[in-house]
Symmetry: C2
Subunit: 319 residues, 2 copies
């Protein structure tokens, strides 16, 4: 059994060999089929799939995105099954497949952590999922999750700095930011030592190096400056104040979700797992699951499929 999470920016695969993460921006027409084919040892391999990449703007709408992803996956894995926001497996492109990856994680963890809020801090978004409310989570779209504070559209790597930080205080002077796509959260987190260059797995905004020096240059540019104009302390102030806003935004929503759900624990996953476990006093799933924590939905949907009787009920289903 292979677990697959087709995001807009990343393709994540979990198989017997471990966890495989590819930066795979669908809107740049990164080819899905050859990437998936690397993991097919046998055409009969059963695959369990979740997605969120149907929102990528290369698709006219979500239906087109779902159809594309289902077609591409089944081309490689004809026996693939797709987990939906109804918490059921499907074999065809139905609307329920849109952005159900977070629910697979919840479905898998709810038995072990019935009193917890799950915080999956990924590259692009942060999912905040109150596990005690699992039955009510079914059917939620990303629009509804934004409104409920369950989907925070900011992540450890790909968030444009001015999308969170409007004004930075540089040596006491409030400085509004450029709204250009000059620097991203990965630059701030690299600068602050929260991630390594290897964890900076997406492209850089300027297509240049993933070093602290280059990140500093990108951060300086968000106030229309060369590094020489604001110095290392200036670039550091931008990184720190970005993180202050990002941390406050996420931690606030986690606390609200805990209160609303009567949850007593926090469990964290994703590339920001240890950082947020520390901030929130939570259980760091990366200690329990290892690198699978960075691909939790792919891991979870594989476990769900293994535990379900779907393949027993549909031993040769191809539809």
């Amino acid at each position: 059994m292979i677990g697959i999470d087709v995001g807009g920016a990343n393709l994540k695969v979990v198989d017997g060999d471990g966890v495989h993460i590819h930066y795979c921006p669908l809107w740049e027409k990164t080819p899905l089929v050859p990437l998936l084919s690397e993991y097919r040892t046998d055409p009969d391999t059963p695959a369990a799939v979740v997605m969120s990449g149907e929102l990528a703007d290369c698709f006219q709408d979500k239906a087109e995105g779902i159809a594309f992803i289902v077609r591409a996956t089944k081309e490689v894995f004809p026996r693939a099954v797709f987990y939906g926001t109804d918490a059921e497996f499907h074999t065809t492109a139905v609307p329920q497949l849109a952005a159900a990856n977070w629910l697979a994680s919840a479905d898998y963890l709810r038995t072990s952590y019935p009193d917890a809020v799950l915080v999956d801090a990924g590259s692009t978004t942060t999912d905040i999922i109150p596990l005690p409310l699992f039955p009510e989570l079914k059917g939620l779209t990303d629009l509804r999750r934004l409104q409920k504070g369950y989907l925070i559209y900011t992540g450890m790597l790909r968030t444009s700095v001015p999308a969170l930080l409007r004004i930075v205080v540089l040596d006491g002077i409030p400085t509004p930011l450029s709204t250009e796509f000059f620097a991203i959260s990965a630059d701030a987190h690299l600068m602050l030592g929260h991630i390594t260059a290897e964890q900076y797995s997406c492209d850089t905004p300027d297509h240049k190096e993933k070093t602290r020096t280059a990140a500093m240059r990108r951060l300086a540019r968000v106030v229309c400056a060369d590094p020489g104009e604001i110095g290392t302390p200036g670039a550091r102030q931008i990184a720190e104040q970005f993180w202050d806003v990002q941390r406050a935004l996420i931690c606030d929503k986690v606390r609200k979700a805990m209160a609303a759900a009567g949850a007593t624990d926090v469990v964290t996953a994703g590339i920001g797992s240890s950082l947020f476990a520390q901030e929130l006093g939570g259980i760091d799933l990366s200690e329990e699951l290892g690198e699978a924590s960075d691909a939790l939905p792919a891991f979870a949907v594989r476990e769900l499929a293994r535990g379900s009787d779907f393949f027993t009920r549909h031993p040769l289903r191809q539809g």
Copy 2:
């Protein structure tokens, strides 16, 4: 005499035939030399140049950007002169050439409108320039202009929607936005009828059509939705609330600049000229200058060079 403004996203040329605007993103390596060559009828044509494109992130720093732009321009127009933030013309790549385009506009208009604040609402940024303070404006970098409220990094076309609007109220429900690059100010202004499809001169985020239907699709995506999920009224609410924030931000800074400079008038230019003239009760330069209002720095630097004795003093200067 030809006037040239080399921005990061746009190349603007003013010559005897009129105004020519090219979407020319330097960071995508759009070739400057062939574009400029279209306007060379005679190698001795004098050219007056301003720039802001040195900030584009294809360049390591501003010095590299300035050197590149000066070299490319002089390859086509060997007699080119470059206006700097010291309000002087230069013939070589000096640091003063960084982002002096707004000062050329101010220098040209300050005699006719000595008591006005100039508001140049362009595709990417809005310059707010208190003309009574002209002597103090010299030497200001973009960093300092951001801090003083003279450079608002938002424009009529290229501003990412979530860079200004953090939360939209959809049918009474506060809805945080996706921080993805899904929709831009041009989509909001097209939706609201503030610009035409022809004025939408930059690329669309999804590389799809410049129609209201396509703009609606892009606007819906900023709340992770298909147009069907929020309807036309939902997309309209996003466009309206984006414009509310953008208008308030700009008008507030204009009023502060007026108060600080003791200015009594507002003159407006740029693609948002008539819109802001209306909002602020200002003089719309597009009525006086026609399309030159959309390329004010290129027009202004040409007029400044024609009025200066620089070419008389340096009749054959090539250095």
